[in-house]
Amino acid sequence: MNNSGYETSGCDDCAEPFSGETALRESHHENDPPLGYALRSMVELSYESGTLLASGAEAGNLPAPFVFDARTRQWRAPANAYRETILHLREMDIPHKDNASSFENITLESKLAMEPRPYQTEALAAWRRANLRGVVVLPTGAGKTAVAVNALEKVGRSALVVVPTLALLKQWYSVLSDAFGEAIGLLGGGYHEILPITVTTYDSAYIHAERYGDRFALVIYDEAHHLPAQKNAIIPKMLLAPYSLGLTATPERPDGGHELLPELVGSIVYRKSPEDLAGKYLAPFEVVRLPIKLTAHERFEYAQADAVYRDFLAKHRLPMRSPEDWQRFIMVASTSHSGGREALLAARRRREIQAGATRKVTTLERLLKQHWDDRCIVFTKSVEEVYSLSKRFLIPGITFETVAKERKEILDRFREGRYRAVIASDVLNEGVDVPDAGVAIILAGSASRREYVQRLGRVLRPKKDKRAILYELVTSDTGEESASRRRREAFA
């Protein structure tokens, strides 16, 4: 009837526990050596600052990653040699004792009704067939988190989830708290609490993994395309974790770093493109672009300021393409004796008009009014704008400053319908689950391809026969217009 049965039964073997128990089983070899054999010394494994030490070992006993560390006169390997080492010692029937790992068994049962879609089940099965190591590639909005929650449930061991941003740290915290109804640990962004399931950032893992690398049997890398970055690539080395799962929509890196993924987390075990899932699982949506015209007064002021600013740039042959160019402009302008000060003031005024266009705010007010029953999410680049609009319209705001608990509460209430609208800065960027938002309004944004696609992902959610709408408010006749054009081109 269903042939896939062998997949699930087969993988319970690969989930064979890596823990002290098996080591104890081996240890009576040593207490009770068979007659006629030379007494083989016990190999003792221990964890030290991101590395695995083997005492009582002879050169031939240990797998390749081990080298003799002359500094401390010990056999040492990177911590991620743990899996290979245990398998090797078992296979060679070498008596050993595992003092390295302090994984915990945890019984997890997801309380969230996250009905796995067929491709999620397939992805998980493929990962289990690959001995609980590998990367799953699914498009934004396809529910990568559900795959992770299922993986955590299946493995049932202490686990570390590594994410790129503080926003995602907070998002995973709330998803996992909801799913398992257990306290979840946080490491990074001012939090430092280690629990059997802990969420951390790549930056914090880089610093702290050497202290906690012995605690987790499973490590999940969210947005795993960040892992091959030179700095991040050392993180897996510091972790004993025999099981690893990478999640991403875009594994390929322009620098070719994706070739390191098999070594760092495992090969790609499952892959679906947006086209594979379009229509059926990703909701269609409509993009409405609203050009915001400056008021007559603003337009006049803007034109004046812009002319002064551009004259200065031209006179000093200054390009303006990157943040460094901006810094250079300020430097030149503040040292220049003729027109420098005026150029600085003009540049500032220009930006103010762009950001605070009166009609932008009134347009937003109209949209909020129109969609008061449709669950709106407003996105803006500027943190300050979040707070000022939150105060103006009395709707909750979320930025990177918002603490995890409050953030979760706001999104929960939004999901329940107790809040009708939320305004957020860039924090809801990469692959964050926004529950059933019907309308998204982008107030500003930079011209990056990934950001645009990910933001659209916000409303790319299956919904009951209601078409999702994405509004983009762009101030016309100013620099923001071309940023928006670049975004659209990148997406097309």
Partner: protein, 414 residues
């Protein structure tokens, strides 16, 4: 510590020269003074106001100080001054409860609360705010809604440095910044340097050391546990944090391989020609430790019978690579038959340091090095720990260590 974007160094024939400032250059000290004055003036004010003014000052002071580097110098000053700030919450009301109440009320309305009253008499923004004002007794709830933001924090205390102090901190911080990208650090310490202090910081920063004697003292190579599997910048931060510890003593020379703009470069420094002031206070020590040692030397000289042992100051370091620890004896005792015994007098000790010492003494004896450790009964953390240590061979003393206590032990174990 600086952020990477504040770090500046010049590359000359493969050698990195970190940017430094002179504490006698007037424009520099004036800039330092003006900026720390700005921080001092803002005590009691919110962070946002300070940050806005600092940003404006950057634009003004930066280019005036140095047309190319001025910006970064001023920003670096700002970063170092921020480390001397303490912040406090602004108001006694809980902004979280306040705004949650406001959002809930607004969301209960069938329509978005309008900003101006209109003909339909729909509830306005002001209606909600005045209702919350009545409930809480607060005059302006909208203003206090986000009073817990970092930018609303109040600068409660500022430890103002002198302009020279700030310049000194800057110079060390620039070298530290270069070390962020270091793969390993080689330090030569002279015999006169306080090796115990140096190893205190090696250990504190979680570094791994290799040690070998040189003609002038010892050479340490410092890196981290994972370094043997291929060089890594992972321990650069720890090496950077180690530096202010090292410069508490001298003489030393250091050299590091640094990955700089995609290439290898080297950083070399010598305590002889660098004037660096540390902002570390050093490990806790009893102030009269030197006195105790001097008193012991005098006591030994006066002693009638020392059993044929002569006392000299020691500049030796006994390494224990397996334990990643060293013993730094104060004295070496020798007798006519060529036997040598090391003696360390502990200043302030903690239970942990004493237990570790006892283990090292045991390990030293095992390999045939004779080591005696004396610990003051007055300067320790716990009596039980000392009693335990005495059973393990530590010599206890009150106030002054007597020659007799040591010579008795020499003949007893010899």
């Amino acid at each position: 510590m600086l952020r990477s974007e504040h770090v500046m160094a010049r590359l000359s024939r493969g050698n990195l020269i970190p940017h430094s400032l002179s504490d006698s250059d007037e424009p520099t000290t004036e800039t330092a003074a003006e900026l720390s004055g700005l921080y001092a003036k803002h005590v009691g004010e919110p962070r946002a106001a300070l940050e806005a003014e600092v940003a404006a000052k950057e634009e003004e002071l930066g280019p005036r100080l140095d047309s190319r580097r001025g910006f970064r110098i001023v920003r670096a000053f700002g970063k170092l001054l921020e480390e001397r700030c303490e912040w406090a919450a602004p108001a006694e009301t809980d902004p979280y409860t306040l705004r949650t109440r406001i959002f809930e009320l607004a969301s209960e309305l069938p329509e978005l609360p309008v900003s101006e009253p209109d003909l339909l008499e729909a509830p306005t923004r002001d209606d909600i705010l005045s209702r919350v004002a009545t409930e809480t007794g607060l005059e302006d709830p909208a203003m206090l809604m986000y009073a817990d933001r970092q930018s609303a924090q109040i600068l409660s205390e500022f430890h103002k440095p002198s302009p020279e102090e700030l310049v000194h901190r800057y110079n060390v911080a620039q070298i530290q910044g270069v070390l962020y990208a270091a793969r390993e650090l080689t330090v030569d310490i002279g015999a006169e340097a306080d090796a115990r202090l140096v190893f205190h910081y090696v250990k504190k920063m979680g570094l791994i050391h290799r040690i070998e004697p040189t003609r002038f003292g010892y050479r340490l190579r410092l890196d981290g546990p994972l370094s043997i599997f291929g060089s890594t910048r992972r321990y650069g931060l720890a090496l950077a944090k180690f530096l202010p510890g090292l410069i508490l003593t001298k003489p030393w020379k250091l050299s590091a391989t640094v990955e700089w703009k995609g290439r290898d470069a080297s950083l070399t420094l010598d305590s002889k020609n660098s004037v660096l002031a540390s902002h570390y206070l050093g490990p806790r020590q009893s102030e009269d430790h030197d006195e105790v040692r001097e008193a012991f030397v005098k006591a030994w000289e006066r002693a009638k019978n020392t059993g044929g042992w002569s006392l000299e100051a020691s500049s030796e370091i006994l390494p224990f690579p397996e334990k990643q620890a060293v013993l730094v004896p104060d004295f070496t005792l020798k007798n006519e038959s060529g036997e040598t015994v090391h003696l360390e007098i502990l200043g302030f000790w903690t239970q942990r340091s004493l237990v570790e010492r006892a283990a090292l003494v045991g390990a030293a004896n095992e390999r045939g090095d004779r080591v005696l450790v004396a610990a003051s009964e007055n300067l320790g953390a716990s009596n039980e720990a000392l009693e335990e240590a005495v059973r393990g061979g530590v010599i206890p003393f009150k106030g002054r260590l007597s020659a007799k206590a040591v010579s008795e032990r020499l003949s007893a174990t010899g």
